[in-house]
């Protein structure tokens, strides 16, 4: 089942075309990597998929809802984790979970039960009452991810979720992503770490507002005669004319 289906999406800001006719499809349960150099239009594209920005042209369906006409319904059915932290530093761990559970319309009992399960799975039970600002960075990120999928959305959008984290913690983070995908949640992740690109089922690379490549990492490496996703990226990024913003 396709959870994302977009066709020739365009976003213009005045005379500047940030996203220039992108089309793609993402299946349920896929781990989809959305790559591109800075300034390529990734963030703008993602905002359209999240219901945060109405496309200038084109059409799309995300989680079963139209991107132009039903952005509010899209928001209800997705999760989102941003680069800057998604959690409130001066709230405790369980308070943050309750807040976001409530925002996404979960009832008190479900929130309480799921909180217990979540803390047990993450081995966070001892940190239930810790202020988020007192948690180490890697734990914050794991918690932020767990909160973003707490309400069981169909898709979760991750905007560079592992920035500034050591390789071991990043690996642990990806374990969480694999588990979520196995549970049927589609993962839409942007990243600058090319090794993470290898972990994805399929990857797309944006250059200057267009999608210049979209396939499995294996096929892309074959297509570009590269040994790693890093090389694939370098070849495509070289052609870019836009400066990063």
């Amino acid at each position: 089942m396709k959870v994302i289906e977009v066709n020739n999406l365009v976003k213009r800001f005045g005379a500047f075309t940030a996203v220039n006719k992108i089309s793609m499809e993402v299946e349920q349960g896929e781990i989809f990597g959305f790559l591109g150099a800075n300034g390529a239009g990734k963030t703008t594209a993602m905002r359209m998929l999240c219901g945060l920005s109405i496309p200038t042209e084109g059409s799309g369906v995300v989680a079963g809802f139209d991107v132009k006409k039903q952005p509010e319904m899209i928001k209800k059915n997705i999760g989102y984790m941003s680069q800057k932290f998604s959690l409130y530093n001066d709230l405790k761990v369980w308070e943050n979970i309750r807040l976001f559970g409530g925002i996404y319309g979960m009832d008190e009992k479900s929130i309480a039960d799921k909180t217990d399960t979540l803390l047990k799975t993450l081995n966070f039970e001892s940190e239930r009452n810790t202020m988020v600002k007192d948690l180490p960075l890697g734990w914050k990120q794991k918690l932020a991810f767990s909160v973003s999928i707490f309400h069981n959305p169909k898709i979760v959008f991750l905007d560079e979720p592992t920035g500034g984290v050591d390789p071991f913690t990043r690996r642990q983070f990806w374990e969480l992503i694999y588990k979520a995908a196995a549970d049927g949640i589609t993962i839409f992740v942007t990243t600058h770490y090319m090794d993470e690109a290898e972990y994805c089922d399929r990857v797309s690379i944006m250059v200057d507002g267009k999608i210049e490549a979209l396939d499995t990492p294996k096929n892309l490496k074959k297509q570009f005669e590269a040994k790693s996703m890093d090389e694939v990226f370098q070849q495509l990024a070289r052609k870019a004319t836009r400066q990063s913003d």
């Binding site: 920005s53 509010e72 984790m81 941003s82 800057k84 932290f85 530093n89 925002i103 996404y104």
Partner: protein, 368 residues
């Protein structure tokens, strides 16, 4: 040493490249000096007064001529009836009423003594003192000239009556002003900082991506500050009445209603500031410098606006606190009913409405 200089230069860059802060740092002193130097004056000129002269004889007319000629006074009303004396101060247009006794000249000539009553609006005690002093001086000089011509020891005795604030308590004047300032500070400044903090920390992005409607985010931010303002309102009123001895002469109900309207105005201002600033520091500076300063100086709280240059009087009309202070003074201290201040209340309501609409629109635009 060289290290130090390089670092100092960097610090200068930080300041110069933050245009907004720099303007405040460099322009504010200039504006303040000019305002204090030229515009804001505690002197009284052309103060509006009224006269009640039931005698209309030669002496009273002569005194009235002198008063009219004086640059301190501008006679705006001639009362025709002693019953008007009760209401003349209620619309706040005159600060002093000079009342001549009946058969003024006759009494003066026959008995050598006559009385003039000076009724002063003592809600602003300083103003009242100044006006009664000027009036007494003019009357005294007339008396002196009269005596000089005829060598009879005439005595014109001015009897001063201070209305609304017989003990000339300064508190009567500044309690409304302080109330306005506190409400503005809490609602405008704190609300704007709270909204901008989410922007700065990046949590606003998460909220906007969630099903939470933006209007609810704003309302949720405003609610705690609304409650705190209400608590502060209660505290200030209790302290004013019981500790400072300032009365609530008029209707408490309407006083509270007006305060609630003013709280709405301040909350809307806070929202507006949050849409034009990106950092908490900027929000604080804008709320503080751009709102607090003019409120203190141009709202009539500390300095009478009637004596300011016309330009500043116009600016003063745009400041919501000015209208709020007038209403609060009239209700609390003069004890007028809501009907007497309906004009000011309407102005405040319109301001609240306009600000709410403008700031909500601005907020929506910024979202895209």
């Amino acid at each position: 040493m060289k290290q130090f200089i390089t670092f100092v230069r960097k610090e200068f860059y930080h300041i110069f490249r933050d245009v907004r802060t720099m303007m405040i740092l460099l322009l504010m002193p200039i504006i303040q000096i000019i305002l204090f130097g030229f515009a804001i004056t505690t002197e009284v000129k052309n103060a509006k007064i009224a006269i009640y002269d039931p005698s209309k004889d030669i002496s009273s007319q002569q005194i009235i001529e002198r008063i009219k000629a004086s640059e301190y006074f501008e006679v705006t009303r001639y009362l025709t009836n002693s019953s008007e004396l009760n209401d003349v101060f209620k619309d706040g247009k005159v600060g002093l009423v000079i009342v001549f006794s009946e058969k003024f000249n006759e009494t003066l000539m026959h008995t050598g003594k006559a009385q003039i009553q000076l009724l002063a609006d003592a809600t602003d005690p300083n103003n009242a003192t100044t006006l009664t002093n000027y009036a007494t001086a003019i009357i005294g000089s007339y008396q002196h000239d009269l005596m000089g011509e005829t060598n009879i020891p005439f005595q014109i005795v001015p009897e001063t009556k201070l209305l609304y604030n017989p003990q000339m308590k300064g508190a009567y004047n500044f309690v409304p002003g302080v109330l306005g300032m506190i409400l503005m500070l809490i609602c405008a400044m704190m609300t704007s900082i709270s909204i901008v903090r989410e922007k700065e920390l990046g949590t606003m992005e998460i909220l906007l991506a969630s099903p939470m409607k933006p209007i609810y985010i704003i309302l949720a931010k405003a609610v705690p500050y609304f409650f705190i303002s209400c608590v502060n309102l209660a505290t200030v009123l209790l302290l004013s009445v019981y500790v400072l001895g300032v009365p609530v002469a008029g209707s408490l109900f309407w006083l509270i209603v007006v305060c609630l309207i003013f709280i709405m105005v301040s909350l809307a201002l806070g929202l507006l500031v949050s849409t034009i600033t990106d950092t908490q520091l900027a929000a604080m500076l804008v709320s503080g410098m751009v709102f607090m300063m003019p409120v203190m100086m141009l709202s009539g709280m500390m300095f009478p606006t009637e004596n300011m240059p016309i330009v500043l009087q116009w600016i003063s009309n745009v400041i919501p606190a000015k209208w709020f202070i007038i209403i609060v003074k009239d209700i609390m201290i003069k004890g007028v009913g809501i009907a007497a201040v309906w004009k000011e209340v309407v102005v405040l309501c319109v301001m609240a409405l306009v600000l709410i609409i403008v700031s909500l629109k601005n907020f929506k635009i910024r979202l895209e």
